[in-house]
Every structure is written in structure tokens, then in C-alpha cells.
């Protein structure tokens, strides 16, 4: 009979101990989550796509379309690789090297009475490899396009452009090109404030074309 209270006390202590340990620990999913995107391929294929970005409703992001062509973020700058991000583009091919051509038409108002020229910058970024197929870094570059076909500038990328991916060790091994979701940026040509002041209000539209023309 005397053993029963002892057992109860032991049970109580154990219960308290387990309760204490339950409340001593605080486990949290921290919300610190990072996404790692993988891209792979099965030969043989080509693909190219451009996806416009829509500016969100609160207009706090500062990128995407539509945008105000009078805004500072799209005004002319000497560095034509910056500007407002309006889209992402992907180019991928297992037939490298490949040649591509990008063209753009000027922005026109709906009445087709005003034509506004601009620059686009397409970034590309794909993995390069050595002879053993080991990744050795990235091939990065910028393709700068003007909607004014008459403009002559060393800043403008000559078309067609050849993208290649030869091994870095010199064996001549050719590797595929996968440049996914890189940014496309917009910047007006060099207009004065007085020229801009004459542009009528309203929507302006334009067309951009990317073609793979050979491999």
C-alpha cells in the first residue's frame, strides 16, 4: 500500500518533466526558404521565348509593363545595358553554336502619328565547360538593339549574333546553350525634354522579334 503514493509521485514527476520539455522547445519554420532552379536537357532541340512582365497592381516594384515613357527610369543613359526591366527571355539549344537575330520596331501611338525610337538590352548567361564536361563558370553578355535601323553606334550589337559554347580546355568539344529567364531592359533614345513635350498622350506599342536563323 505504501508503494502506491510513491508511484503516483513518480508518475507526476514524469508527467511534469514531459510537460516541461514540451514547453521548453520552440520549433519554427523560419520562412527562410530559398528556391534553387535546375535546368537540364535531352538532345536535340532549340527554343527561344520572351515573356513580358506585368507591373503589379500596387506599382511598387518599379519594373514591368506598361510604363510611363516620360519616367526617369526609361530616360536615355550612356550605358545602354541598364534601363527598366520589361521582360525576361530564354534561349536554349543543343545545336550550338547558333546564330540569332533580334529586331524591334519603333514605339507608335495608336493614331500612328508619332514614332519613338528606343534601345533594348537582352542579357544572356549560360554555363561553359571544360573538356571533361565540368562546369567552369558562365558566358555572360549583352545584346543591345535599337529600333532605329539607321543608327550607327559601337554600342549596338551587330546582327546576326553567334552564340557558342566551346570547351575551355581547347578540345573543340561543343556544349549546349541554356540561357533562361534573363532580363530584357528598355531605354528611350536620346530625346530632349522639348521633343518629349510634343508627344501626345495615350498608349504606344511596338513589336520585338527574336529569330534563330542558323546553327
Amino acid at each position: 500500500m505504501r508503494k502506491l503514493p510513491v508511484c503516483l509521485v513518480v508518475l507526476l514527476v514524469l508527467l511534469l518533466a514531459s510537460t516541461a520539455s514540451l514547453f521548453a522547445k520552440t520549433t519554427h519554420e523560419t520562412g527562410l526558404t530559398k528556391a534553387l532552379e535546375l535546368m537540364g536537357f535531352i538532345r536535340q532541340y532549340h527554343m527561344v521565348e520572351i515573356l513580358p512582365i506585368e507591373e503589379n497592381e500596387s506599382k511598387t516594384l518599379g519594373y514591368g509593363m506598361p510604363f510611363d515613357i516620360m519616367g526617369n527610369d526609361v530616360s536615355y543613359q550612356s550605358n545602354k545595358t541598364i534601363g527598366r526591366q520589361i521582360a525576361t527571355w530564354t534561349i536554349a539549344s543543343t545545336y550550338a553554336p547558333i546564330s540569332i537575330e533580334i529586331t524591334a520596331t519603333p514605339l507608335m501611338n495608336l493614331a500612328q502619328t508619332v514614332s519613338i525610337d528606343y534601345y533594348l538590352c537582352f542579357r544572356y548567361n549560360y554555363a561553359k565547360f571544360n573538356d571533361n564536361g565540368i562546369s567552369t563558370g558562365s558566358n555572360n553578355g549583352y545584346i543591345v538593339v535599337s529600333s532605329d535601323s539607321n543608327i550607327a553606334s559601337t554600342d549596338i550589337t551587330e546582327m546576326p549574333l553567334k552564340l557558342e559554347n566551346e570547351s575551355t580546355d581547347g578540345s573543340g568539344q561543343i556544349y549546349p546553350i541554356i540561357s533562361k529567364s534573363q532580363d530584357v531592359r528598355f531605354m528611350l533614345s536620346d530625346y530632349s525634354d522639348s521633343e518629349k513635350a510634343n508627344w501626345p498622350g495615350g498608349y504606344y506599342t511596338s513589336t520585338v522579334t527574336i529569330r534563330i536563323i542558323g546553327s
Partner: protein, 413 residues
């Protein structure tokens, strides 16, 4: 007599312990402040400091350049060394090779230059007080920003051995400097170069590596990594953590996996490096607690799906709604720690929050100091993520395949 023998033995043992303590190796320490973790790159509070800066409680709010006061919310960390009489060389270098916050290390178009002010502090041997220390005539050393950031790969700070005649412990209060501030277009000119940031919901990153060389350190060198995160948005706001940093950086190979080769040759492909650290905590935490990591195929990490880690045929940014042997292939991912050798864990993509069997865990790094900063506890790890193709590839159609690995962090302290 037996009692006397015991007392003598105890005395001898005590003497040995004291001797061992007296010749203990030098100890380094680092406390990272939470204000370092996610800063607004357009902020105007990170001004350069004057020649005799003094720590002050409270928070900086747009102090003027050469202000002689500094605050916790300007500090990246404090780091130092004690227990030595030899000279100490601290070498600061940037992972990217530039004193720049970068959106992408392969893209230098968008960056924000920064620097650090190293404010020298120490414990006086005679008085035990914490005071400013003058080395080579300076109480503060400026690094980065005002130098040509494209050419400065590293900078050193030396504590001469004679300094230890006066001080028992020396540390640096490291303040972030982003002076001058960005203009309304997100640009800043430093020297002859104009730097630009662009609005994004991603973070800008920088990593300062600090090597501390001293003859009394075990191995002669101790290394610390100071991870920095910054943001730039048109609204000036960003919903991010202020007490921990998780960084996952893909390798170039992650963007170009030759699925057939990986499977046929049984290649283990490294697809990313990761690093995690918490702010250093001085009290109120369970130092026996842990931080857990797990990899899953779902962003929420709260529900199990049968797909697990699967590379899926992708066209026009869309994946098939029904997966089969023609349009998808399974793989596994492995965490490989570089800070805790031999620690690895495999994941198939179905790990969920709450299932502790699927956690990769790290314990606290706990350091006691006598510098006035108290006991320091933080959790940290870094390493790589590897993938292996496990599914059948024979029937896969040609094309682009994509998949996403989500790296989750769970705290338990």
C-alpha cells in the same frame, strides 16, 4: 598524513590547471549584429565616421559624415582576439573581389559600393576598462568605398605585439558605410564611376572574408565570413528576416544539366553552394538548441507530394500536368556540409516540416569572452548541394527540363 597528501595532490592539480589556463591558445570571437542582415541600400544612415568615434546607445538616423558617434544599427559585427602577446594580422577580402553589394556576381551592371569603418577597442590590462585603442596613430581604419573598388581585392589591419603591453583583448567594431547615398534614380557616383541599382524583389549580396593570423592561434589562422544582404525597392520596404541569412547560390552547371550524361556516367553534379548564419545572441536562447535544414520540392514544405524531386519537360514556361516516363525523370539532392566534415543528408523531395527524421541539423557555436560583449552564441553552416539522376531516361523526349529545389530552415532554440 593521508589528508595532507590529498591536499598536496589537490594543490598540485590546481596548479597544473592554472598553468594550462595561463598558456591557453589565443581566442578569437565574432558577433554579427542583426542590422547587418538586411539593409536598405538607399538608406542614409550609414555615413563615414570621424577620427575618434564613440559608441552610443540608440539608433542612428541620418547622422552627418564624420560624425563621432556610432550606433548598433550601423554595425555589421564586432570581432577580436584575446589571449596572445604576438602580433595579429586581419585580412579583409571580398568573395566577389569588389566592395560591392551585387544582385548577381556574374552581372556587374547593378551594384552598390560600400565600405567599412573599423573602430579599434580593447580591455586595458591595468584598469580592466573598455576603451578606444590607438594603433599607428588611428582609432579608426576605413576600408572599401573611398578606394577604387575595382582594384582593391583585400586590405589588412595589423595589431603590433607591443599593443598587448597595455591591452589584454582587442576587437574591432565594424560599421557599414554607404556614403554618399543613392540618388532618386538609384545611382551613386564614387570617384569617376557611376553605380546603379535596379528595383527587384531579390536581395543584393556581399560576403566579407576575414582571416585572422596570429602565432598563438591553433593552426595560426582563424577565418570568419560576414554575410551581408541589401535590398532596393521603389517603396523602400522589403519583407525580409533581420536575424538570419540563408544564401543559396547556383553553380553554372545547375543551368545546363546534361541529363543523359549524368545518368549514364552516374555523375554527381554540384548544383549550388549554401550558407546560413544567425545573428549572434547573448541571452534568452537555448544554447543546446539546433537549426535544421531540409530540401523539398514544395515551397511551403508542409505537404507531401508524390512527385518529389523531378526534372519536368518545360515549354513556354509550363510543365506537363500529368507526368510519365516521356516527360519527367526523378533525382535526389544531397546536402554536403563544408563546416562540419562528413555531415551529409540525402533528400528525395518529399521531406516536410515537422518530420525530424528528414532534418539535417547543426548545433550552436558557443563562445565565452571577457570583452564586455558577453557569451556569444550563433548557428551557422555552409556547404554544397549535389544531385544524382535516379529515374529512367530512355524514353525522355528531347527538350528543356526544369525543376526547383526549396531549401528550408527550421529553428529549434
Amino acid at each position: 598524513m593521508p589528508k595532507r597528501r590529498v591536499l598536496v595532490f589537490v594543490f598540485l592539480l590546481s596548479s597544473m590547471v592554472c598553468s594550462i589556463a595561463a598558456f591557453a591558445a589565443a581566442q578569437t570571437f565574432m558577433k554579427q549584429f542583426s542590422s547587418a542582415f538586411l539593409v536598405n541600400l538607399a538608406s542614409n544612415i550609414y555615413k563615414a565616421h570621424g577620427s575618434s568615434p564613440v559608441w552610443t546607445s540608440g539608433s542612428a538616423s541620418n547622422p552627418s559624415t564624420n560624425d563621432n558617434y556610432y550606433y548598433d544599427n550601423q554595425m555589421l559585427c564586432t570581432m577580436g582576439i584575446s589571449g596572445t602577446t604576438e602580433s595579429v594580422t586581419m585580412t579583409f577580402s571580398l568573395d566577389s573581389g569588389h566592395w560591392l553589394y551585387l544582385l548577381d556576381e556574374t552581372d556587374l551592371r547593378f551594384s552598390r559600393p560600400f565600405g567599412v569603418d573599423l573602430i579599434i577597442r580593447g580591455v586595458n590590462r591595468s584598469t580592466g576598462s573598455h576603451e578606444s585603442v590607438t594603433i599607428n596613430g588611428n582609432q579608426i581604419v576605413h576600408m572599401g568605398l573611398d578606394e577604387d573598388s575595382s582594384s582593391v581585392k583585400s586590405a589588412t589591419f595589423v595589431i603590433p605585439s607591443t599593443t598587448w603591453n597595455t591591452y589584454s583583448s582587442i576587437w574591432l567594431d565594424v560599421c557599414l558605410v554607404m556614403d554618399p547615398v543613392l540618388d532618386s534614380n538609384g545611382q551613386v557616383k564614387v570617384g569617376s564611376t557611376t553605380y546603379t541599382v535596379t528595383p527587384t524583389d531579390d536581395n543584393y549580396k556581399a560576403r566579407i572574408k576575414v582571416s585572422i593570423d596570429n602565432a598563438d592561434l591553433a593552426g595560426g589562422t582563424e577565418t570568419y565570413l560576414i554575410d551581408l544582404l541589401g535590398y532596393y525597392t521603389t517603396s523602400g520596404e522589403h519583407p525580409g528576416s533581420s536575424t538570419a541569412i540563408l544564401s543559396v547560390t547556383p553553380t553554372a552547371a545547375a543551368r545546363s544539366l546534361d541529363i543523359e550524361k549524368l545518368k549514364t556516367d552516374a555523375v554527381v553534379q554540384t548544383v549550388a553552394s549554401y550558407s546560413f548564419t544567425t545573428a549572434t545572441m547573448t541571452s534568452g536562447v537555448n544554447t543546446n538548441g539546433k537549426v535544421h535544414f531540409f530540401l523539398s520540392s514544395t515551397e511551403g514544405g508542409t505537404c507531401s507530394i508524390d512527385d518529389g524531386f523531378t526534372l519536368k519537360f518545360t515549354r513556354n514556361n509550363k510543365v506537363p500536368s500529368v507526368l510519365n516516363g516521356y516527360n519527367s525523370v526523378k533525382y535526389t539532392a544531397r546536402i554536403v556540409s563544408s563546416e562540419y566534415p562528413g555531415q551529409t543528408m540525402d533528400f528525395d523531395g518529399n521531406a516536410v516540416f515537422g518530420n525530424t527524421d528528414n532534418y539535417y541539423s547543426v548545433s550552436a557555436d558557443h563562445v565565452s569572452t571577457s570583452t564586455g560583449h558577453g557569451d556569444l552564441t550563433r548557428w551557422h553552416d555552409s556547404g554544397t548541394i549535389e544531385v544524382r539522376i535516379t529515374g529512367d531516361i530512355d524514353n525522355l523526349v528531347a527538350g528543356l527540363y526544369t525543376s526547383t529545389i526549396y531549401f528550408h530552415v527550421v529553428t529549434d532554440f
